[in-house]
Every structure is written in structure tokens, then in C-alpha cells.
């Protein structure tokens, strides 16, 4: 990498760290961008920029230190080395370097952040921000410099497995250590400067820049998906030019794509938001019509698109679908009824195992070899009963206690399947293998070798699950769930049998999870206790929280982003390179989400109200003021207390 190319390097950095925000058509990403924009557009009051050298040195030092820590951590987690093979833009940029360089960029950007206080004008951004960014970036880059010196002179391989000469070589770009020290200070400074400079750009231009970077980022990172699509839709002639032979965008095409997307962004400025606001403002029949139309359109795309997709993408879609199904089930339990269930995988396991036992000829003891659809009826009944049995003792607890107990039950179920005691029914650690595919009437058998069919099957069940949660949410039962979530004691006092209602949520969740389990066993063809680790429960919960608790579109978007892009517990995602680091990324994403957007990617109306109570209360207060009601409603002045 040479100096002249570095600005481009810096400019493309937000790519990877924003990737998890969604594929380009996920509504989540624009939403986040909008929020950020909305927060910063109303800079009506601006005081002159701060002088260049009047920096908040303490802040710069602390941000720089965080940058140092983050970069050294990432370098020693072996991420740069592993991802170095993955070229993004052909001769210039590999994912490995991006995984380090985004740190000084973000640090440089954050260091110029000003807290907005009402009535106090913000300082206009200027050289001050850039200079601060540079200093911060240099400090952060210095961390890598330091690391490369240490790498050469000390051997810490014993505790740190990734402490290797290869890493040193990578950090030095194949040159001497002195070069490494110099280049990382320089790169850090440049990245920090770019980060600081992002504060200078006005929001409209920033939007264009962000769109350009995101487009190039997505197209390069999601290469496998694009190639797969190209094969199906017959535009290989284009991708052959766009992508280099051994992966990565050709740099000239990267420029063309950036220019093109920038142009599109400029032309469509604000249109998307306008359209969304227009749809949101519709009411009554026209709203219902629009919604119906959108659903039909989405459904049609989902049915037609897989026809043009290869095995790889269909497999991916099927996996995402399985998790959507699980997440929808957990969403009923956690999102609607507010029961924090950390052992949800139990129902997935019971669904899988009961389907396996009922359909597989090789099942050790019981093998009725039912057709899949018939077995499904029993699976639903069995899982529902298991939900009832697990739920009955658990449900009387509340909050943290309940979470811990469900965690325990999740493990108990797995250990039962693993145990010698039940081994002659469930095969113990050998599991049950050679499970036949799911036969659907005359339409043939759905098994793992035909991922497209699996996807269609999953799609059908997702539609069913969505319908179930949508209808239940708007019923007497759904309202009771919400009341229990809000305040269990009061719900009980208002005549709701909270035990029954919570059990019902547990059972509905269990049944939705069993759908996923039954499809899973038919798809994979075998079930082992190891497929149902506690990690699966956690991942599903993260999907629900990340997507937006209680929100059906949110849960779907959450699965698409986390499972589709990053990969599930055992399934590779689009970014198969990241599969080793996905738990790290899950964690980072979850923390970022809780800080920046606690209501989730696509929040339910209710949940976002809950987290923005103050703003909404204020709006409603203003509205009240406008009301014609003469009386004041400020009822805080108590009348003098009269006693006898």
C-alpha cells in the first residue's frame, strides 16, 4: 500500500464496521442513518469553530488509548492475518487492514463529538476537528507501531498464540520494522484525519459519501452473494469485469461503482424517507391497502427470487428462515409476554428429536416411520406438552430467577438427549441419523440436498408463524401478555390469570420453535445433542434483541443481518471469513445497539415509545396545551390537608 492510495483506504473504512447494519435493502440501515442525520441537521445555532490547538487533550488521550487497546486486541485476535487474503479492492485494500484501520477512523471521528445542550450553540466544525482526529489517530496508530516493535523483539507466543512473525510481517507490509512504525503512525493519522473531516461535511454530502462507501463496501464484501445472483440472473459478463479473478473489486470498477451510487444518492435525496413518511401518514383503508400490497410484493419476491439463486444462497436463506422461525417463537415469549427465556433451544431440540424419532427408520426404539406432515402434528403436540411441563414450575418465578431457571431447563433437555439413560430411544451422543426428508403431499421430498425446497418449506412456516404472532398480538390474549409484561401484580389484580397467560405464551413459543426443529431435522438428516447447545438460545435471544423486541419485521431483519451476514452458531453466513469472530462481533454489535438504538433495528411502536417516554410525553403535553380545555392539568399543588 502506498501513501498516495491512503485517502481511499481511509474513505472506505466504514464499510466493514457498518456491514452488520444490514444489507442495502434492509430498512434498518437507512433508519440508523436517518437518526444520526436528524440529530445533526438542526444545527441552527453555531458558534465559530474552536481554535485549532485548544484541544481537549484528556479526551484525545483517552480516545487514543481506547484505539490502541482495540487495535492491539484485534491484531492479536489474528483477525488481520486471517482476513488478509480477502481482497476488497484489488491491488489496494484487503479486509485484514480494514479490520485495523477502522479503529483510528472512528476514534478520530468520536473525538470531535460535541454534546448538544439545549440553548447553547454548538461550535462549527473546522480544523480543530481534523487536528484532534489526527492526534487521536496517531496515538491509536502508535499502538500498532508499538506492537510491531514488540513483535520483533520479544517472544510472547506462550500466552498469546497469535504472536507470530507473520503478524509482524503483515504489519510492516513486508518491509522493515522501522517502516512499520512509520507507516502505522502515518496511516493512523490519516485515518483519524478522515474521521475528523467527516464532521466538517454537511449532512447531505455526508449522506452521499456514506452511500458511496457503503455500496462499494457491500458489493466487495458480499462478493459471493453477488456472484451467485449473477449466475442465476445471467449478468456474469458484468461481474467478470467488476471482480478480479481471485476475489476483490477491480479498483477502476470500485471507482465507477462509487460514482454511480453517489449519483443515485444525489438524485434520490430524501425520496426514500418521503415515501416512508407518506406510507406512515396513511390511515384506515388506504393504509391497509398499501400494507397488503407491500406484503404481497415481498412475498412474490421471496417466492420468485430463489429460482434464480444458486445452492449457496438458497442454503443461506433456508438457515436464515429457520432462525426467523425460532426468533418469532422467542419473540412471543420475550417480546410480547416479557418472560426472559434463556433456554429456548430446548423446544428446538424437542421439535427436532421428536420429528426424527417419528420419521426416521433408524430411530433406535420407536420408529413408526410416519410421513413428515403427519409427524408434524405429533411434534407440535409433544412440544406443546413439553412447554407446558417446563413452564408450569418455571412460570411462577419472575425476572432474573426465571431467566436462570429457564437456562437450567434448556441444558437439562440437551443432557437428557445426551444421557445413557435415554440412549436407547434417542441414540445418546450418536444421535439419530438418516432422517428422511420432509414429504409434502405429491410435491416430493424436501431435504438438505435441495436447499431451494427447504427454503420454500421454511418460508411457508415463517408465513404461518408470522400470521400466528400477528393475530395473537391483537387479541385478548395478546393484550393480557402485554399487561403481564408491564406490571404482573396489577395484571393479576385486573382479573388476568397471569399463570395461565404466561403458560400460554410459553406453549405458543414452544410450538413455533418446534416447527423450526422439525424442518431442521429433515433438512440436515441427522440430529445430535451437540446441535442444541446453550449458544443457540443466546444467539436467538440476541437476534430478537438486535432486531427489536416485540416487532415481527425487526425479528426478521435481525435474523437476516446476524444469521445471514455473520452466520449462525454452526451455519456460515455471507461473511464466512468472519465466522471465527462472529461471537466477538455479536457482542460488539449488541453493545453498540444498546447504546445507540436500544429499541432494536426495526422497533415495535410500543417498544420505541417505552424507550423514548420523555420525548413522547413532552409532545403529548404540548398537544394538551393546545387543547381547548381551559383547566390546567398540572395537579401537583396539593390543597391544604384538612383534619377533623
Amino acid at each position: 500500500m502506498t501513501d498516495s492510495n491512503s485517502p481511499e483506504v481511509a474513505a472506505s473504512e466504514p464499510g466493514p464496521d457498518l456491514t452488520p447494519g444490514g444489507t442495502p435493502d434492509t430498512p434498518g440501515t437507512p433508519g440508523v442513518a436517518d437518526l444520526a442525520e436528524a440529530g445533526e441537521t438542526d444545527e441552527t445555532l453555531l458558534s465559530p469553530p474552536r481554535p485549532v490547538f485548544a484541544q481537549n487533550w484528556k479526551r484525545i488521550l483517552s480516545m487514543g488509548a481506547v484505539g490502541v487497546g482495540a487495535q492491539i486486541f484485534l491484531a492479536l485476535s489474528n483477525m488481520p492475518l486471517r482476513l488478509d487474503d480477502r481482497l476488497l479492492i484489488k491491488p489496494i485494500l484487503s479486509l485484514g487492514y480494514v479490520s485495523l484501520l477502522f479503529v483510528p477512523f472512528i476514534a478520530g471521528n468520536r473525538v470531535g463529538h460535541q454534546i448538544q445542550r439545549e440553548g447553547i450553540p454548538m461550535h462549527a466544525a473546522g480544523l480543530h476537528e481534523i487536528f484532534g482526529g489526527v492526534i487521536c489517530g496517531v496515538i491509536a496508530g502508535g499502538g500498532v507501531s508499538l506492537l510491531s516493535v514488540l513483535l520483533v523483539n520479544f517472544d510472547l507466543r506462550e500466552p498469546l498464540v497469535n504472536w507470530s512473525p507473520m503478524l509482524a510481517e503483515l504489519l510492516a507490509f513486508g518491509n522493515s520494522t522501522a517502516f512499520a512504525v512509520f507507516i502505522w503512525l502515518l496511516l493512523g493519522g490519516l485515518a483519524g484525519a478522515a474521521g475528523g473531516a467527516m464532521r466538517l461535511v454537511n449532512p447531505k454530502a455526508r449522506r452521499v459519501v456514506v452511500t458511496m462507501v457503503l455500496t462499494v463496501g457491500f458489493i466487495s464484501v458480499l462478493e459471493s452473494l453477488v456472484m451467485d445472483l449473477a449466475e442465476g440472473l445471467r449478468f456474469e459478463w458484468l461481474t467478470e469485469r467488476v471482480y478480479a479473478r481471485r476475489g476483490g473489486l477491480n479498483w477502476n470498477w470500485a471507482l465507477i461503482l462509487a460514482a454511480f451510487s453517489g449519483l443515485v444518492a444525489m438524485l434520490t435525496r430524501g425520496r426514500v424517507r418521503q415515501a416512508r413518511e407518506h406510507i406512515a401518514s396513511l390511515e384506515g383503508a388506504s393504509r391497509a391497502r398499501t400494507n397488503f400490497g407491500l406484503i404481497i410484493l415481498t412475498g412474490a419476491i421471496l417466492v420468485i427470487l430463489p429460482l434464480f439463486l444458486g445452492k449457496f444462497t438458497n442454503e443461506l436463506l433456508a438457515n436464515v428462515g429457520l432462525f426467523v422461525l425460532l426468533a418469532l417463537g422467542l419473540n412471543v415469549v420475550v417480546g410480547l409476554a416479557g418472560i426472559l427465556d434463556l433456554g429456548y433451544v430446548a423446544f428446538f431440540a424437542v421439535g427436532s428429536y421428536s420429528a426424527a424419532v417419528l420419521t426416521a427408520a433408524t430411530s433406535p426404539r420407536i420408529n413408526p416411520e410416519m410421513p413428515w406432515l403427519v409427524a408434524l402434528i405429533f411434534v407440535v403436540v409433544i412440544t406443546g406438552l413439553v412447554g407446558l411441563f417446563i413452564g408450569a414450575p418455571v412460570i411462577r418465578m419472575r425476572g432474573d430467577y426465571l431467566a436462570i431457571v429457564t437456562l437450567g431447563f434448556g441444558e437439562i433437555i440437551r443432557l437428557l438427549f445426551l444421557s445413557d439413560w435415554l440412549a436407547d430411544t434417542f441414540g445418546g451422543s450418536q444421535g439419530i441419523t438418516m432422517i428422511p426428508g420432509a414429504g409434502i403431499f405429491g410435491l416430493g421430498s424436501v431435504s438438505g440436498t435441495e436447499p431451494r425446497n427447504v427454503f420454500y418449506l421454511v418460508l411457508a412456516f415463517c408465513a404461518l408463524a408470522i400470521y400466528i404472532s400477528w393475530r395473537l398480538e391483537r387479541s385478548r390474549l395478546g393484550r393480557a401478555w402485554m399487561a403481564v409484561r408491564e406490571d404482573e401484580t396489577v395484571a393479576e389484580a385486573m382479573g388476568i390469570n397471569t399463570v395461565n397467560v404466561k403458560l400460554m405464551a410459553f406453549v405458543v413459543g414452544a410450538i413455533l420453535g418446534s416447527f423450526s426443529g422439525a424442518i431442521f431435522s429433515a433438512k440436515v438428516g441427522s440430529v445430535f445433542p451437540n446441535s442444541f447447545l446453550i449458544l443457540v438460545s443466546i444467539v436467538i435471544l440476541v437476534v430478537v434483541i438486535f432486531g427489536g423486541m416485540g416487532s415481527i419485521p425487526g425479528v426478521i431483519a435481525g435474523s437476516a443481518v446476524l444469521i445471514g451476514v455473520l452466520g449462525g452458531p454452526r451455519q456460515p453466513g455471507l461473511l464466512s471469513e468472519f465466522s471465527e469472530y462472529k461471537l466477538l462481533i455479536y457482542g460488539a454489535l449488541l453493545i453498540w445497539m444498546m447504546l445507540a438504538r436500544p429499541e432494536g433495528l426495526i422497533p415495535s411502536v410500543r417498544r420505541s415509545r417505552e424507550l423514548h417516554q420523555q420525548e413522547i410525553a413532552q409532545d403529548s403535553w404540548l398537544r394538551e396545551q393546545l387543547d381547548e380545555e381551559a383547566e390546567s392539568t398540572a395537579g401537583n399543588d396539593q390543597p391544604a390537608r384538612a383534619t377533623a
Binding site: 406490571d487 401484580t489 397471569t498 390537608r641
Partner: protein, 279 residues
């Protein structure tokens, strides 16, 4: 679905006639460790009566409500409602029998809308379950419409305060006085025979307080509920109550009409302590 909403005062033929007690507690005791929060209390409410329960802080007023609604366990004694014992019932069963309450520190379902708050409180009077909701049966649709209609009717009882656009506002956006009103509306929605109001005017200004006082009267006159009110504001107590019960240290120290009770030396002593001249 019951139809008691329109005739809530219709006595339950086999249990009560005339002025027989609707609610009766017998030797009711509640202990918290060594503290006797309620100590052998006999208390009764008749059909269509408004009873005020007063007493200094810690006298056991709210404990009495909690005991009646089964949110705490009794140490001894019995509670009869319409002549039948309520021992061992869950709180939701008590509500189903016809006792509703409000809370001293307003406890709404803050993130549900105003209308939903009232709709969900009809839970024990409605029966459609998952099946009806999933298949969108005619019975389900009919019941949903009825629930909504009833909720709107109840909310319109409070004038124009909780209607219109307010239906769809989350409960936490309401002003303090409106939250108190919504709590009453929610209690009404459970179709009770007896409503327990725990300090309904606490924190209200004099205008609102006077209005709510009238409202308590209307609740009895128009809807036929028997009402028990815990209240500290004596002007409110004087205005609403047919009968006043004074508690101190978990026992009843006086009972009767307001004038009577307010001149009772024991009551004055409980409020003001020894050695003070009656005011």
C-alpha cells in the same frame, strides 16, 4: 359474556337481599412479623354504599385493601363476599368475583394505550382464546367489537378527558389526574360490584379533587357500585361517604356518619395525639 355491566347493582339472588352485607370481614388479622397490621378487624360494606376508611399513616388502611384483594395472606379471620368465603382465592379470582381496586401509587400499564388499558381489564369477563383469534371467528370479532365498545363507553364517563385522540395515546403521556381517572376506568372495566379506591385524589389540585369527589358519587348512582374509599382529605370524606370507618393500629376505633366520627374523642386522639384540645 355477562350482561352485568348495565345492571351491576342487581343483587345476587341467593346471597343478598336488601341491605345485607356485600362484603364482610370477620376477625381479620394480618401480621408482618411481630407487627399487627390488622388486628381482628370486623368491617362490612353493604350494597350501593360508599364507605370511607380513614386513619393515621400506618393504621392498616391499604393493608385492608390488600387483604380483601388477596394480594397478601391473612394470618387469621375470614372475608365473605356476597355471603361466600373468599379464603384461598387468587387475586384474579377475587376480581372475577366482583371486587376491583385502584392503587395508591398509580399503577397503569404505562406503555399500553388508554383504550388498551381498559380493554385488557375486561379479561375476566370475556372468553375468546387463541383459537378464535387465530381463525378470526365471528365470535371473536363480535367479542372484540364489544370489548372496544364497552371500553369507549367507560372512558366517555369521564367527560372528554380520555376520549378521542387520547384513546390511542400511551398511558404514560396522561397528566397525573387523568392517570387516576384511567385507573378508575380500568377498575370499572372489570365489571365489579365493589370498587376499592386507594386515595383517589392524592396529588390532585382542589378543582380536580372536587370533580373527582362528584365522580365517586356518580359511580354509585349511575353504575350501582358499592365503593370503599381510603382518603386523607377530610372535605372529600365528608362529601362522599355514607359511613366512615376509622382505623388505628389495625383496629377499628370508630364507625358512623362523618359528623359523629369527626367529634369522637378517640379519633381526635388518634390523629392529634394525647393532650390536645379537639379542634
Amino acid at each position: 359474556m355477562t350482561d352485568t355491566m348495565s345492571h351491576p347493582s342487581t343483587p345476587n339472588a341467593n346471597a343478598v337481599n336488601g341491605t345485607a352485607a356485600l362484603l364482610e370481614t370477620r376477625k381479620l388479622s394480618v401480621d408482618f412479623g411481630g407487627l399487627h397490621a390488622l388486628d381482628g378487624l370486623d368491617f362490612e360494606v353493604r350494597e350501593g354504599e360508599i364507605v370511607s376508611v380513614i386513619g393515621p399513616n400506618g393504621a392498616g388502611k391499604t393493608t385492608l385493601f390488600n387483604a380483601i384483594t388477596a394480594t397478601i395472606e391473612l394470618s387469621s379471620g375470614d372475608i365473605l363476599f356476597e355471603g361466600a368465603s373468599m379464603m384461598g382465592l387468587d387475586p384474579n379470582k377475587v376480581t372475577a368475583r366482583g371486587i376491583a381496586r385502584t392503587f395508591q401509587n398509580v399503577r397503569l400499564f404505562a406503555n399500553m394505550t388508554v383504550l388498551e388499558n381498559v380493554m385488557v381489564s375486561q379479561h375476566c369477563r370475556t372468553r375468546q382464546h387463541a383459537f378464535g383469534a387465530l381463525f378470526y371467528t365471528p365470535a371473536f370479532r363480535r367479542e372484540e367489537a364489544e370489548i372496544r365498545e364497552r371500553a369507549e363507553k367507560i372512558l366517555s364517563f369521564f367527560g372528554n378527558r380520555l376520549v378521542g385522540y387520547r384513546f390511542d395515546q400511551p398511558a404514560f403521556t396522561l397528566s397525573y389526574a387523568n392517570r387516576r381517572r384511567l385507573e378508575i376506568a380500568r377498575a370499572m372495566a372489570t365489571e365489579p360490584k365493589l370498587i376499592l379506591l386507594d386515595e383517589p385524589v392524592a396529588g390532585m389540585n382542589p378543582v380536580e379533587s372536587a370533580e373527582l369527589t362528584k365522580l365517586v358519587g356518580r359511580l354509585r348512582d349511575e353504575w350501582g357500585f358499592a365503593i370503599v374509599v381510603i382518603e386523607h382529605h377530610m372535605d372529600v370524606v365528608r362529601e362522599v361517604s355514607d359511613r366512615v370507618v376509622v382505623l388505628d393500629h389495625g383496629t377499628k376505633i370508630a364507625e358512623g356518619e362523618y359528623e359523629e366520627v369527626s367529634n369522637d374523642p378517640q379519633v381526635i386522639e388518634a390523629y392529634l395525639g394525647h393532650g390536645n384540645e379537639p379542634s
